[in-house]
Amino acid sequence: MTLPSHLHLAIALDGAGWHPAAWRESDARPLDLSSPRYWVDAVQEAEWGLLDFVTIEDSLAIQSTRRGAVDSRTDQVRGRLDAVLIAARVAPTTSAIGIIPVTTTTHTEPFHVSKAIATLDYVSGGRAGLQARVSATELEARQFGRRAISTPQANGARTSPDTALITDLFDEAAEFVEVVRRLWDSWEDDAELRDVATGRFIDRDKVHYIDFEGPHFSVKGPSITPRPPQGQPLVSVLAHVPVAFRLAARSADLVYTTPTSTEVAHSIVSTIRAHEVAEGRQGPKLLVFADLVVFLDENTTTAVLRKQRLDELDGRALRSDAFIFAGTPGDLAELMVEWQAAGIDGYRLRPGAVPHDLEMITHELVGALQDRGVFRQHYEDLTLRARLGLPRPANRYARA
């Protein structure tokens, strides 16, 4: 019998938790959601639990129960801060945990995003990444006013974007990530010389134009920010559908998926491997994470009832793209070990309510996983990539 291999564990942070009524829990801090302390506390808690990384949710659209439209509800959390800035604010107050903000690729500038994440990598000492998100709503497009996302109909109404457009948006995201990565590589690691004798600050032969020309944009480069500590910070993508799996296989280091059972986990992993082959992926295989929404208590009934209570407060049962688990940390640990056997490398847990479910993860679930020999006992001094078993990428522009 071989020793069980370690699994990776991350937490997705979003407002007061992933249940829309989570802010109404007695231990919630709904008035603090825009305060730095709230985010520092959450990420420090995750770090206390030795987790691999946190992601910080974001969207250019305000929260809504309606896809692609605003709603008139006043009983759910509305409003959020920019995730890259939250990540930067939190970085110097932590020392080991990875920090991955969600970043929209549709209306934003790859040049700005590249230097922002490179700088996050500097301020965190090699713990940065990004989760690339495609924006496919007309609502978000109108906030920028630069282009239309949907096609106007004869009667003036706008339809949801069609398949061709969605494909195009994901192709654009792939281009975006390509530009971001090239900009990260545009400075060789030893480009800074500081040669007092010759008066040269950099070796200009080691700073490169990227000269990217694609169907969606062209970017000259080089970046203004030198190559970050990890070489290339971690790129991740959430994927449910083929077009997103394809983006992950082309562009990402890590993919978040939403299996609902061991069988589904199996099939998702094979789908991803097939996409990797189809795209001719080079280098390390995609790390496959499973996303789970979790409600954790000492016994299953308490967890189920707590979720029900929140459902009642919200007026409807929680819906999620991910599997919703309500139960004990021990049972969750069992499930995680089981899916791991289907090829899942790690998990990103979306706590139903913060701080309760976050603390149940860091205090109880982590212990249950450690007892099963599948989770670390302490942090080693590693970059985020190294912790995930990924090498530091070679620089494409460096001469061998």
Binding site: A61, A88, R89, A116, Y122, E192, F201, I224
Partner: protein, 460 residues
Amino acid sequence: MTDRPRQIHLAAHFPGVNNTTVWSDPKAGSHIEFSSFTKLARTAERAKFDFFFLAEGLRLREQRGKIHDLDVVGRPDTFTVLAALAGVTDHIGLSGTINSTFNEPFEVARQFASLDHLSGGRAAWNVVTSWDAFTGENFRRGGFLAQEDRYDRAKEFLQTARELWDTWDDGAVIADRDTGRFIADSTEGAFLHNGTQFQIEGHFGVPRSPQGHPVIFQAGDSDTGREFAAADADCIFTRHGTVEAGQRFYEDVKGRLARYGRSPDDLKILPAATFVLGESEEDALEQSAIVRRQQVSGQTAILFLEQVWNRDLSDYDPDGPLPELDPDLSEASIVKGRVPVFDDRMKTAAKWRSLAEAKKLSIRELMIEVTNPASFVGTPLQVARQIDQAVTSRAADGFILVPHVTPGGLDEFAETVVPLLQEWGRFRTQYEGPTLRDHLGLPPAKSSKTARLAINAGAT
């Protein structure tokens, strides 16, 4: 009112990517590692400075078609560094340059509102309007903007950002568990802007931040720039070598405020200033001469000369005389990615020739003479008096100090000059409020409600 003497405002500028920054100094540290930013910001905060200032560049500079390699090259991202600094400081304002040409108002408004929240009300935005096609090559839209349109875009950009910041009321987040009401009104954040530069609508996602609006800086000495500042800015970031020039500028800009219903104190005039301190005046002058030679190497002198001659002068000896041939007056500049420092090429060349002849100066000596000498040179007492004098005589409301060594270049100033200004009652000994507006004595941003109603009325 009290008889409190006119207060001086002081800020720390992180050393930039021009030759003012002496990277060859053995004490010079990294311009990228976060520890350098932390060190300077904390030094400035210990000295009770108003704010920390970070500049921005969006394309590496080039000369003769090659990336400029003699000065510091490379910078981190402005927003990311400022947000991270908010985590290692408690009081000092965090000011950054963000371009209005290669960004969109929805995104920048969101970033500054977030920074203001994450710093507890310490954010400031220096609005710059670089527009050139050279920089545009790094962006989706390329160099889309004509030079003459840049202020139109900047003005409407800022106005749009202000509208977005006003879309949330101060008390919009209620979070009442009993009634289940999180926000006061489902229309919080709703906006519609129909202008010539921007036609946008939607929902702004960031609740109103502690300062309401971040402090707004404008840098630029042109008439349009001054008018823009008078209408819309809280601070103006300028460069004026002498007290007299400073006074003229001060009077001119402050004189424009009444037209916009603003009082002279509503806009602070803060020139950038360099300094060299010494134990005696002679020592300071000697130190200053050393620094000038570090700042203007032979190679740098040739590059400066090329900016006026607009020719490749790499074969000339910096320790020799000026070129006999005249400047190339064609349009195409051999310098890219930086603001032109010298005006009329023929006139400048003529002036330099006569100066070099009169004083028998080599190219390098001449460049040391004609480019950016330190603003303040002397003993701590002398420098404190010069600063005091400049503010008393209304040449400035304070200074943005630019150390020439990263990150320790402010230490001596903080330890020796600041205590004198404090002793004289001219500079704070402790922060009096949590926000940058408090430090600068600026009025709070206008009530969001009023502003929003006005927009809605305008939109119908």
